[in-house]
Subunit: 222 residues, 2 copies
Amino acid sequence: MEVPEAKTLEAKDAASPGQIRVRNRALILAAAEEVFATQGYRGATTAAIAKKAGLPKANVHYYFGTKEALYAAVLEDILGLWLGELDRITEERDPATALGDYIRAKVRLSRERPLASKVYANEMIRGAPHTRDFLKNELRNLVTSKAKVLEAWAAAGKIEPVDPVHLFSVIWAATQHYADFEVQVGALLGRRQLAADDYDEAADTIVRMVLRCCGIRYGSGR
Amino acid sequence: MEVPEAKTLEAKDAASPGQIRVRNRALILAAAEEVFATQGYRGATTAAIAKKAGLPKANVHYYFGTKEALYAAVLEDILGLWLGELDRITEERDPATALGDYIRAKVRLSRERPLASKVYANEMIRGAPHTRDFLKNELRNLVTSKAKVLEAWAAAGKIEPVDPVHLFSVIWAATQHYADFEVQVGALLGRRQLAADDYDEAADTIVRMVLRCCGIRYGSGR
DNA sequence: ATTAATTTTGACCAAACGGTCAGGTTTTTA
DNA sequence: TAAAAACCTGACCGTTTGGTCAAAATTAAT
């Protein structure tokens, strides 16, 4: 019997039918990434996530059930990012450009998605309770396959032999450092936030280290 | 923190009064380091710290007052470790041995005090709420002074010019990675825990990267 | 228009949280 | 010894936690 009152405030952001779920899940996931990144898993509260998403807490539980399931969903999104770019490291490509492009892509990711990096770092520091299988399967297999690329390059005399696990470990450590430890690097550079140039110089330094480590001449001596 | 009235500076050694205080504070600090490392600041509970120390929770508050004060005490202990070894990087020494020794010392620290590294990493990821001053003063000054060493080495033709902030950032990132991300490196190497040899190989790789980055010949020739 | 499905949310709960405190015990000092 | 200082801790407190739920509102399907 009631005439529907004009819910104008609600209607401004009208989503296409059936898309409410998608939009709200995205809102919650983005808020959760930030809170998990800065507070850690145990320190993050569903109330804080809800507030940041602009929704009542019960709504968060409606879409994701438990805090743990929400964390798993956030992590799922992030793991895809990590494996990205790696597939462009192939035997056919030139080692210097393949490794250089990869490192620069990782540094760019640190600048564009620092929160994702921090969530991942927190997960590793805690001992990877939700990512053991990912590490032992997907990631290990990927590194194994990239190890063969490095061996092929070495056999062709294009690089010196290098331990692939340590090489990738150091690349990941160095690149993600500019997301996870941004506040430290910023303090050392006397900045409140890192600028685009800082990331470029960081990438240059890391590329130079890695390529020369592999015996490739790079940025030759001045 | 309140300090009891002067208990005569002389009799501080064997079986002196205050022995209990020293021992229990050490017990609590060690337990706190572990819990803060694995759970983060917000995730750590005073109850968990007390249980790990084998003491009732009220005892923890008796010695340290608040959780925040306890965290500050843990962090205080750790910051000293970080600045250690750096003073052996001097203009007079040979760059290769000075940097090599420093990197190996940092890797050794990652193996021997992984929890300290994790607490520090957590603090940085959160944006350094308790360490802003340390970063902007002590640490920045130290890096500035080490930058002069690098410049002197470069002026003497012993190394190529390198940005000191990025060089040290990458050294710290790479070395501490073997503490903070031990579970990831272990998974890639197919081990449950890293062995002494793994740390040695990690140090070799990092030393090779850094020295060659600086234009120093190192390792298998080419 | 009616029904069915989905979405929303204030109110609520038991457990866990950081912290307090009174009153006891042990150790040190005089 | 006796007094004083230091230490210990079970019990407790107000708040916050992750999670639930029923009822209402909205949207989609018939």
